[in-house]
């Protein structure tokens, strides 16, 4: 089956880890992930700047590695990202901010990408909150 996976929570939230474990299980089970879409606090799960304590998993880094390893379409909602200070180089320059902190493997784009993914997928599965 084709899955679209949406994440609404930051990397230190249990649901960010849960979503990643779910995404891994999708691929291991022979399914396809048509897109990952990060919205609301989920944009922080695509940040390159979070520093996880040494004895904790670094979910943002794990997500970035996952997207790149499997060459997945990783999209972060640009409006949600800007509001929360997750910027790529282009936006950092545009808004004259000191840093570009969007992790590798992610693109900033609009909510239309969530809808397109929902149309393409057999199942839309969302993770967020706790």
């Amino acid at each position: 089956m084709k899955f679209a996976i949406a994440l609404f929570a930051p990397p230190h939230s249990p649901s960010s880890r849960r979503a990643l474990r779910f995404a891994e299980a999708c691929l291991d089970g022979g399914h396809e992930i048509v897109r990952l879409f990060f919205y609301q606090e989920g944009v922080h799960s695509a940040s390159a700047n979070a520093v996880a304590p040494q004895d904790e998993p670094n979910l943002a880094a794990e997500w970035s590695a996952f997207v790149r390893k499997h060459k997945l379409d990783g999209v972060v909602c640009i409006a949600a990202a800007l509001r929360r200070g997750v910027l790529n180089a282009e936006e950092a320059q545009r808004y004259e901010r000191p840093a570009a902190n969007l992790a590798e493997g992610w693109d900033l784009s609009g909510l239309g990408q969530l809808h397109e993914a929902a149309q393409m997928a057999d199942r839309l599965v969302s993770f967020g909150g706790n």
Partner: protein
């Protein structure tokens, strides 16, 4: 159409479980994940509410969350799932509604 409802908040501090239970269709399923597994706590009103659900409604919980919280005395009807089984559940239901 059968929907798999996914919860991840503790029912003791949150209204999601209550709202979800009122909207369940007869063929729907409920998957408890994260703090939502506390709804299985013996002696709680949440546990009673889950047990009162019609038999046709399947009750699932993420095994790792049950184990992490050392929950025991779980209902016989409960199906504890790992991630591969979670994925399969999503395929078997027509759609997945996560109460974010």
């Amino acid at each position: 159409m059968a929907t798999l409802h996914v919860l991840s908040h503790s029912p003791f501090s949150d209204s999601r479980l209550g709202s979800c239970l009122r909207l369940l269709g007869p063929d729907d399923g409920l998957l408890l994940s994260g703090d939502a597994v506390y709804a299985l706590q013996s002696g709680s009103l949440a546990r009673q509410a889950l047990e009162l659900m019609p038999d046709s409604i399947a009750l699932h919980a993420l095994a790792e969350d049950l184990q992490a919280r050392a929950l025991t005395g779980l209902p016989a009807r409960l199906n504890a799932v790992d991630y591969p089984a979670f994925v399969e559940l999503c395929c078997n239901y027509d759609k997945v509604n996560s109460w974010l």
